[in-house]
Symmetry: C2
Subunit: 480 residues, 2 copies
């Protein structure tokens, strides 16, 4: 790299944290398929954008730390994005960033304790990659001397949704890097206005750069509980398919704490590199409107949206045609099973809607109608009294588990591709426009032996149609 | 009737005009299934509310004049509402109210030229039926003396969406009735404010009361083209099932003109009965919000709606859960295939959205995803490349036409009820959880011989899946 990260970029390891749930971007982002897996700014998902940004330049392949539940989504998106050599480390459950980063540092330290971790969220947007790489060069040099370096984003507005960093004196011998005077929690509006006026305060981007050795030493010293739990989880890790699965017991015993609280705000080795890189945490629909392409009236439209006589609106449809007429500063998000309409100034409060849906035990709070599985996905087309219709798409070469149901029979109609179906002792090749009946209680398996995705329509019939009426005998993906 | 319409209520014939398209209530109301067929104010549809209001009190059974396309919807809704003896007169196409009313007057004059027509729209709301009947009594007495009487609604606001009537001198011997000084087109806001201040101006409700004799004589005199065309259409009428189908050629030759322009505004026999009956034309989402039940913040919610931190909003969902957060005076309407979000002050402009969708040849402009047929309904669940899945519901005793398709094969899976299926020379009884395959080109028919509705899932497969790929050989409903 020409800009000075040195000749040893292969010892810079991007660590991508994919643990967020993106609740404020409901109804597109939901716990089961959150923000980082959606294309929000470009045609690529946030995770893919992040992986692309961390690729090339001789960097080591990234380590993605993700929730166990999302493992197949992460793997598929990395595969699509040609993120070669990426390793996926699985958290049994979310415990915030400190244990996730510690586990990644332990993995990296096994081969090179002096390698530099470049830690980033999977769901931020950065417009100016060249400026980012330049700032990274400064950060890496400081990190190699034992500092834990964060990036200070030059504020473009008196933002109350971000934490701030106040820089201290310049770091000797490191042009562009400073000691950190203090961290400031998300401020009130008046405070934010004061903070951005003096040029010494920056948004805390949540990116960190440090060597594995420094991180582990500081974690031992300042957050020994986290260090210990992460070590136990790491030592109990298992390789499962292509995943590094952390030990559940150890991981769960860690405090639920961010890297900021655990060490960054307490260490005397903290440094900040101020940078103007067009960063956004894409933390709300309002933030997405900010970075979206807009028409002359300031409206941004995605999908089947139609905007008339309106200004400064963000309208996104993942389904039904959505018409907005005579409004200002309104956000409208349409998905197949949920619609959100809110003022642009209120998008920080979307969580209250999700909380209310959760209290009402509505599935729309946390899950989408389309459910991703290691073999493809399914979605419910209609649920009636004693019947349900699903579309099932199976990727080439993939197969579902060998299973049976106690309460439902199924009709399968193949509408694209070919299915190899095991039904008790028989095997059938079912082609496009052919169907097969699976009586209640039969042991069956669905396999796509072909080169193109298999689409079938499943009509279920029975008194109970819950997803939990399934007995798995054998599964390619470790689920039996 | 105690309030003085006299002992001869059986000679009062309600004439219900069901010709509107209710475009401003898109996306619920669309041309193929417009406003008057939806439950907008109560659990009953507007047509059913109207028919109930015109029933009892010894009135003759109503005549409903409706568009040919809507005949089965009208018949089904009247049947559901127990509107016994109702006659349904079909317009081959909409030509506004003058020819429709003339044809109804001709029908009534055949048995009693002195019978009184009580003409009303199928899609207005009236809160105070007692006050309505009282005003009707006054109107009927004047009508029997040769007047064409309208009702003047006491204005409750400086409404710019309605036409106004200025009353003239009192009608001698008819307490509560007045001659009409002039009709005033929808005014500007300032004019409207002036109009409602003097107590002499009223909203024009579009209800009329007159004898068949008076109406026909005035139509001959003032609008002879309408009178002639309606006469030709009436003489060529055919009884088709339970419908009176007007002659298409004659009807189409009539000018497209309202009763107001054709005679009411030009006759010297016009009279007005002022009345406060809680009338609304329910002509926009804002008007529906006005009459809807509201919470303490003035919000009205229908269906799966969730409103937080908002005021004076109207939120209606016919499908996806719809959350509204931090907004004021906003209307949100969710349907399975279209969403409208607009300011309450802009609901008069919804037509511009529909016009734009029409220009873009979007089906959502005029048709719903669910399509009603004489035998029941169907709806598309998903359309893919070379396949489509539909839910088909067939009423007990109903049957589809004998038909075939050139470009698609169909799989039918019965999920409720029983189907009697004719497939070429065979007949099959297909029960719940059974399926049948209909190869491309076979001649087939679907019949529900049972006592409960039949639901089946149809999976279509083929290169062309348009509704027009159908050859009908025989049809119970006169469509072959």
């Amino acid at each position: 790299m020409a800009d000075g990260t040195g000749a040893r970029n292969e010892t810079i390891v991007p660590v991508i944290l994919s643990g967020g749930t993106g609740t404020r971007l409901w109804p597109v982002s939901r716990k089961a398929y959150p923000k980082q897996f959606w294309p929000l700014i470009s045609g690529r998902t946030m995770l893919q954008e992040t992986a692309a940004r961390a690729a090339g330049n001789g960097f080591a392949p990234p380590i993605v730390v993700a929730n166990e539940e999302h493992r197949f989504i992460v793997a598929e998106q990395l595969r699509e994005a040609d993120a070669e050599g990426a390793r996926i480390m699985l958290e049994p459950e979310g415990r915030n960033s400190a244990p996730a980063i510690t586990a990644a540092a332990l993995l990296i330290a096994e081969t090179d304790p002096d390698a530099v971790l470049w830690i980033m969220a999977a769901d931020a947007s950065i417009a100016d990659t060249a400026a980012l790489l330049s700032a990274l060069g400064i950060a890496v040099r400081a990190a190699r001397e034992g500092f834990i370096v964060t990036f200070g984003m030059r504020p473009t507005a008196a933002e109350t949704g971000y934490g701030y960093i106040e820089r201290g004196p310049a770091l000797d011998g490191h042009d562009g890097a400073f000691r950190i005077a203090r961290f400031i929690e998300k401020p009130e509006a008046a405070t934010a206005t004061a903070l951005i006026a003096d040029g010494r305060h920056f948004w805390n981007s949540g990116m960190f750069v440090a060597t594995a050795r420094t991180l582990l030493a500081e974690m031992e010293r300042l957050a020994p509980d986290v260090a210990r739990a992460s070590r136990v989880a790491f030592d109990a890790r298992q390789l499962d398919l292509d995943f590094i699965r952390l030990g559940a017991e150890g991981f769960r015993s860690s405090p639920d704490i961010s890297i900021d609280y655990a060490i960054a705000e307490r260490t005397d080795r903290a440094a900040v590199v101020p940078a103007a890189i067009g960063w956004s945490d894409v933390g709300s629909w309002s933030a997405i409107w900010e970075v979206a392409a807009k028409d002359a009236s300031g409206n941004a439209a995605m999908g089947e949206a139609l905007i008339e006589d309106s200004a400064r609106c963000y309208v996104r449809s993942e389904g039904a045609v959505t018409a907005v007429l005579g409004l200002e500063d309104v956000v409208v998000i349409t998905t197949p099973d949920a619609v959100l309409v809110t003022h642009r100034d209120k998008t920080q409060n979307v969580k209250s809607v999700v909380d209310r849906l959760k209290r009402d035990k509505r599935p729309e709070a946390e899950a989408h109608n389309r459910v991703y599985r290691p073999w493809g996905f399914y979605e419910s087309l209609i649920q009636g009294d004693r019947f349900q219709v699903k579309r099932i798409v199976v990727m080439p070469g993939a197969k579902l588990s060998l299973q049976k149901h106690f309460h439902r029979a199924e009709h399968w109609v193949v509408v694209a591709g070919s299915a190899l179906v095991t039904r008790d002792a028989e095997t059938h090749l079912v082609r496009e426009n052919e169907s097969l009946y699976l009586p209640l209680g039969c042991v069956h398996r669905l396999d796509n032996p072909g080169r193109i995705p298999l689409t079938l329509i499943e009509v279920q019939s029975g008194a109970y149609l819950g997803e939990d009426d399934i007995v798995r005998y054998e599964d390619t993906y470790g689920r039996s």
